[in-house]
Amino acid sequence: MTTRDRLVLIGVMALALLAAVWLLLVSPERKTASKLSSEISTASAQLASAQGDQASAQAAQRRYSAAYSSVVSLGKAVPASEEVPSLMYQIAQATNARHVQFNSITTGGGASGASAGSASSTVAAAAASAGFSQMPFTFVFGGSFDDLYRLFRQLNAATVRTSSGGLQVSGRLLTLQGVKLEPAGTEGSSQLTGTITATAYVLPASQGLTAGATPTSPTTPGSATSASSTPASSTPSSSSAAPAPAATIGAVR
């Protein structure tokens, strides 16, 4: 074997050794490191998302008390059950304040009332499936034009937007669909008969007023999830829970 042959052989062996070291040790380790790097990136994103969820949840926990008060207050506008007595009381109170006679109340859209009856009930039926349950009523009042005008204003004002864009709830939410005014009958009298076709709203029977929550703790995860997973068109709440007790109602956020 000549010197040159020896050199070539040594060179080849050295290259082979280096290649083996690279392929068997260094390269796999570098690949592992690279893979871990991408895994860390993914995990970091997941961590950020989880931390965001956690922050949201903690914020929700801090706001729970206010949210509970809001939900209870909204129950005054849209109760969990029909609450016809409270509605009648509210209207009677409003009519007394306006010197208006509260002559009659008829449930179901009122065939004898304003001509809005049939059409509005069609609209109501189409809408009822999407959110609040609707309770059509027909009210008949007696009074002067001015008094009836003020009464209508007051009925709307039970649940109304404030000038700042908020919501002020002081009574049952009513939508007046039809209004009919005609003379009360006496010739020359300024007294009118006002027939109103209106709709009150009730929370769907499948929901509770507070979905099982109490002032101190929310509902169980299962029921809360089911309640909140309903579409936005539906609004929560409930069934047997009574309307908000007056003591719990106040200015809330």
């Binding site: 059409a119 189409a126 809408a127 007046l176 709203y201 929310p218 956020r253």
Partner: protein, 249 residues
């Protein structure tokens, strides 16, 4: 005579300098060792990185799990707040989709001429006016207008309409009444259905009740208002709710 080179062969000129006795093999070995050292260095660094990143990954995974568990534990709160937002938005949608009849009556009183009296008012929202009055414009087409708040009994897009029955001192006064009614806030159309002297009120079809004089024309007018607006999307969390126990003044 043949010349003889007495210089040792490894020191003769022409051989590469520094090759030495190994013929350059030493350099090859040294070079290989150098490269091997670099490779070992790279390997060590890679190992360190792997170890470091594994620890970091484990830490992040543990943190993620803790955060998820904490969020899961608070799910009832999140759900309840979401419930509140949904309910608030639904109530707002209904409130915003109502027609303000009181304001309409206020406007009616504002624009009505002095020589005109009203004997009946029949107002509806939606298609009701179209069923009772063939000429009612556009009301029926919007009865089932698809809206964001299907909850409301008067969904956005519904068209409020009002039918007035009354009498005026003259036909000119009826014309003036029509003009004045167009000045009402939110009115989109005012159309006369009939106007006839009260002596022929049966043919005219208008109500003859009220304080109409014997020879005064009685009229029936259809007022159509602008469709109910679509509520602007609002963030429930930003909405302030105020509740009171009062009678709702």
């Amino acid at each position: 005579m043949k010349a003889v080179n007495l210089i040792p062969s490894e020191e003769r000129r022409g051989r590469s300098a520094g090759v030495g006795r190994s013929g350059g093999a030493a350099y090859i070995v040294l070079g290989a060792l150098g490269v091997l050292a670099v490779l070992v260095l790279l390997y060590g660094m890679a190992r360190h990185q792997v170890s470091d990143r594994k620890g970091k990954l484990a830490t992040i995974t543990a943190q993620t799990q803790r955060a998820q568990e904490a969020a899961t534990a608070l799910t009832p709160y999140t759900s309840f707040v979401a419930l509140r937002e949904q309910r608030m938005q639904a109530v707002e949608a209904v409130v915003d989709s109502r027609f303000d009849w009181a304001h309409a009556f206020h406007e009616l009183g504002r624009v009505l001429p002095r020589e005109t009296s009203i004997s009946s008012i029949d107002g509806t929202v939606g298609g009701a006016a179209a069923t009772s009055t063939a000429s009612a414009p556009a009301a029926s087409s919007t009865t089932t207008a698809p809206t964001a708040s299907a909850t409301s009994a008067t969904p956005p897009g519904s068209v409020p309409a009002m039918t007035l029955g009354g009498c005026a001192s003259s036909q000119a006064e009826v014309a003036l009444t029509l003009q004045r009614l167009r000045l009402m806030d939110g009115v989109s159309a005012v159309s006369l259905q009939s106007s006839a002297k009260s002596s022929a009120s049966g043919a005219g079809g208008a109500s003859s009740k009220g304080n109409c004089k014997a020879n005064s024309p009685t009229f029936t007018v259809q007022i159509t208002f602008e469709p109910l607006p679509t509520p602007a999307a609002s963030s429930g969390s930003a909405t302030k709710l105020t509740a009171s126990t009062g009678g709702g003044q």
